[in-house]
């Protein structure tokens, strides 16, 4: 069964304290893995898409990496404005049973960065 699990559920960091968020997945072939940021009261904002194992993408203090079974979102020297919920979603390879793209979301990691 296709599944996406994010850990930890919540993470509290001091400003400048680097850490990583994890997204593990079990799908029958990966078409894409997506990271989103969601601020309270807002819709998810697209951050990165990854496709192949070994791929890395960076944006400011965030770097996303991908292996065959999981992805990490590394946060270097975070600032309070990085506080948000980070969501991971996967898109499996198309299944002949379906004729549309499917996506599976994790439950998110709520990050709180204290000054």
């Amino acid at each position: 069964e296709d599944q996406v699990t994010q850990s930890p559920e919540a993470l509290r960091l001091q400003e400048g304290e680097s850490s990583s968020l994890n997204c593990s997945y079990t799908v029958s072939g990966l078409r894409g893995l997506f990271w989103y940021r969601q601020d309270p009261g807002k819709g998810p904002e697209f951050l990165f898409t990854l496709y192949s194992a070994g791929e890395e993408k960076e944006k400011e203090r965030l770097k996303a990496t991908l292996t065959k079974k999981e992805s990490f979102l590394h946060i270097t020297a975070p600032k309070p404005e990085d506080s948000a919920t980070y969501l991971c979603a996967v898109q499996p390879h198309p299944d002949p049973i379906y004729n549309f793209n499917k996506f599976y979301f994790g439950s998110g990691t709520k990050l709180n960065v204290k000054p």
Binding site: G32, K42, P44, F46, L87, A89, Y98, N101, F103
Partner: protein, 116 residues
């Protein structure tokens, strides 16, 4: 480029009342998604449209929820009658709709529903 638009942003209703949400996707996006997000959880897909046809409504509670995308552009999601457990944020998203390719979904701001 304009993003995904949703209205209203907030809605408070009594249980057993009805409510409707509207979504206008990014121009040219063929696929439109409605998600339900309960506090502390990830988005749960309710229904997915490809142009004006439904491709996935397997998790839509069809006894009370309905959705349409008549002209293949904007969409309406309705709940009738509402239950307390329908309190959630309803997110609309859209994507280009190229089957089999890597697709990025773009989300609207959501409608926060509170059922009393």
């Amino acid at each position: 480029e304009a993003g995904v638009a949703q209205s209203p942003r907030y809605k408070i209703i009594e249980k057993r009342q009805s409510v409707a949400f509207w979504c206008n996707p990014i121009s040219g996006h063929a696929t439109l998604y409605w998600y339900q997000q309960i506090l502390g959880q990830g988005p749960k897909l309710l229904i997915q449209f490809q142009n004006n046809g439904v491709v996935d409504d397997s998790q839509l509670p069809k006894d009370r929820f309905s959705a349409e995308r008549l002209k293949g552009v904007d969409s309406t999601l309705k709940i009738q009658p509402a239950k307390l457990e329908d309190s959630a944020v309803y997110l609309c998203a859209s994507s280009r709709g190229d089957y089999g390719t890597q697709e990025t979904q773009y989300f609207g701001p959501g409608t926060r529903l509170l059922v009393l």
